[in-house]
């Protein structure tokens, strides 16, 4: 579903990614459907272990060696990129049409290369430019993300955390992809730096017309960028809706309890917490996966809920059936 109608950049259908581990099969992404329009930002909200990082890896095909199941469809501009073989995917899709700023990206910069060269590298690696043009493009990206251009010649350790994160963002944007995944882009950063980065992201969204998928557990900061919100729990997407609807009144019990647990600065509201913990993705329970922590559970919850469309939200919950 998307209100962009025919303006859908990416559609994910029944995406599954399971890992084989010594203790069994971890069903990290367990049948996810998601749409993303052009120049749209969607937030995937969820706590640790819900599978949201695996979702990004699944779409970008950044798979480890112990994959058990990898199936589903990812339609990018109408083409199913899941059907491409690895070589074509690497050449034509990854970092050309979609890219990622991984978690703690600021620590993932190569310490022995100048940052300008690192940002330029995706251009040369994908034969989109020669060295000169690549550096020029890197320079342009630095300007977009707000890093002074003379920092092109510096090394990673000479930059502050916020600067490094912006460099990582520039690296993800340098090939002008349509879609950028952001995995916890500001979790290690201070409040002011975080606000800065989001300012940059908002600006880039306007100037470059990029779409973003923001993966985070921080509900408050997610509202800084979100056009739509998707809540992930135990490998499933349990709610998707517009930001204006979601932050005012989430529908799924889990979303509700998550919102209630956020301490608020401007409003006097004592936050609560959710008892228990998410189910293990190793053989998750049948039926609704949130049922045992849900205050509104009833008998039907023993069956896996279908997805219902209610007031502009898509909710995976029998309460709305």
């Amino acid at each position: 579903m998307s209100d962009n109608g025919n303006n859908i950049l990416m559609r994910v259908e029944d995406l599954r990614l399971y890992f084989r581990t010594r203790n069994g099969v971890v069903q990290a992404v367990d049948g996810v459907d998601l749409d993303l329009g052009y120049n749209e930002a969607i937030v995937v909200l969820g706590e640790s272990g819900c599978g949201k990082t695996s979702l990004a890896k699944a779409v970008l095909r950044l798979l480890p060696r112990n994959v058990d199941t990898y199936s589903g469809h990812v339609y990018l501009n109408g083409t199913d990129v899941m059907a491409l073989d690895d070589r074509d995917f690497r050449r034509d899709v990854r970092w050309v049409k979609m890219s990622m700023v991984p978690q703690a990206a600021m620590n993932a910069l190569n310490p022995v290369l100048r940052v300008g060269d690192q940002v330029a590298e995706p251009m040369t690696a994908h034969y989109l430019a020669d060295k000169e043009e690549a550096l020029a493009q890197a320079r342009r990206m630095f300007q977009h993300v707000g890093v002074p251009v003379d920092f092109l010649h510096r090394y990673a350790f000479e930059l502050s955390g916020g600067m490094r994160q912006r460099v990582a963002l520039a690296m993800a944007l340098v090939t002008m992809p349509n879609l950028v995944f952001l995995d916890e882009p500001t979790s290690a950063l201070d409040v002011l730096t975080q606000a800065n980065i989001f300012n940059v992201l908002k600006q880039i969204k306007n100037e470059l017309e990029v779409s973003f998928i923001l993966i985070t557990h921080d509900i408050a900061t997610s509202s800084e960028l979100a056009d739509r919100v998707a809540v992930m729990y135990a490998g499933h997407i349990v709610e998707v809706s517009h930001a204006s609807l979601f932050f005012a009144e989430p529908l799924h019990p889990y979303s509700r309890m998550l919102m209630d647990s956020v301490p608020r600065l401007k409003v006097e509201q004592e936050p609560t917490f959710i008892t228990g913990h998410p189910p293990s993705l190793l053989g998750p329970p049948s039926g609704c996966r949130f049922a045992d922590r849900c205050p509104s559970r009833f008998e039907k919850c023993a069956e896996e809920p279908s997805v219902f469309e209610v007031k502009g939200h898509r909710v995976k919950c029998w309460l709305y059936g």
Binding site: G162, D190, A195, N199, S223, A243, F247, P263, P271
Partner: protein
């Protein structure tokens, strides 16, 4: 929180003041920090002097029994160094930290051990704070072993008491588990249990929940609050997240570039921030509201200053939109008190 160290006249021996009797008698501040400066020397080539990192550069405050204060600031502001100095891990370069009236720096080794048992430390990273090769039982026994609590029954009793206080019951289910077998929340409870096991008077908590999931944070913070109430503990929360601080402390101190630039009661500070930096912090901290995505936030330009060569005068002046020319960059502002019990180190309030 005016300074009153009149109890200095009751010069009591270091050791006795720190025992239970001493606490009951305590009238003044439990912890008193005066003009504290903690500077680290920079050396080039291992021996050439190359300046000082002025991590803490003139901090004053008092903390009383049962009080909770939150120290808020961004990374590099010196709050971690301040905390570690209070814990006794660093020594003051100038100024003093006094506990129950006696300067910590002057403590002999016995008094220092006693002090260590009076201050509990809760760290940010719950997994890193626990030795991965010790099980919960050993972890909780270590502080007791070090402080010479030899009686096994006594140790066992304390362990069980503290485990039930952090709601990890039945204790036997957890005692022989290793840290990696516990969830983040459980690990943090063990850290708190360990901090409580020597029956401290003061707890220093460094970002105690920032590495935990959102749904667990409130639980842990509530736990700390409950412990504070039931044991009449003084608590210092160190954090960079203003939105949690308001629920769990009475006072907020804002730290910038090694100095405390604003101090007030929570509600007062949040309703009426006096220092431009505090104002910026409040603006930048989002509440979940979809309007956020539509607007750019106003943020002071630039970055926190280097602690080696801090700016002259008010440390914040290069970034301040309301800087007063000729004053702010020349002289360091003292603490003004424009409202009762609300201090701001800013020339705007002279």
């Amino acid at each position: 929180m005016s300074v009153d160290i009149r109890n200095r006249e009751e010069e009591v021996e270091n050791e006795t003041l720190l025992d239970k009797g001493g606490y009951e008698k305590l009238s003044g501040a439990l912890l008193s920090v005066r003009d504290l400066r903690v500077w680290f020397e920079l050396k080039r080539f291992g021996f050439l002097h190359a300046g000082y990192v002025r991590a803490v550069d003139g901090v004053n405050f008092d903390l009383h029994r049962g009080e909770a204060i939150g120290i808020v600031g961004e990374s590099g502001c010196g709050k971690t160094t301040l905390m570690k100095t209070i814990l006794g891990l660093y020594r003051p370069t100038e100024g003093e930290v006094s506990f129950a009236g006696s300067e910590v720096d002057t403590f002999g080794s016995q008094a220092l051990q006693s002090y260590r048992s009076s201050v509990g430390y809760v760290q940010q990273d719950p997994y890193g704070a626990l030795p991965p090769f010790m099980n919960v039982q050993s972890i909780l026994e270590e502080p007791m072993r070090i402080h010479g609590i030899k009686d096994e029954l006594e140790r066992d009793r304390r362990i069980r008491d503290v485990m039930s206080e952090v709601k990890m019951t039945p204790a036997d289910d957890f005692l022989n588990k290793y840290p990696h077998m516990l969830s983040g929340g459980q690990q943090q409870r063990v850290v708190i249990a360990r901090a409580m096991i020597l029956e401290p008077r003061l707890i220093v908590a460094d970002e105690p929940v920032s590495m935990l999931d959102a749904s667990v944070r409130v639980e842990i913070l509530r736990l700390l609050q409950k412990l504070q109430d039931s044991h009449d503990l003084a608590v210092i929360y160190i954090t960079h997240d203003l939105s949690t601080v308001r629920y769990f402390s009475e006072y907020i101190f804002v730290m910038y570039a090694g100095k405390l630039i604003e101090r007030a009661r929570v509600h007062e500070l949040l309703a009426n921030p006096l220092h431009p930096y505090t104002h910026a912090l409040l603006e930048a901290t989002p509440d979940p509201d979809y309007q956020n995505a539509l607007t750019q936030k106003e943020i002071p330009p630039g970055e926190p200053p280097s602690l080696v060569n801090p700016p002259s005068g008010c440390r914040f002046h290069p970034r301040c939109s309301r800087m007063i020319q000729g004053l702010c960059e020349v002289e360091i502002p003292p603490d003004f008190e424009p409202e009762p019990e609300h201090f701001a180190a800013c020339w705007l309030h002279r």
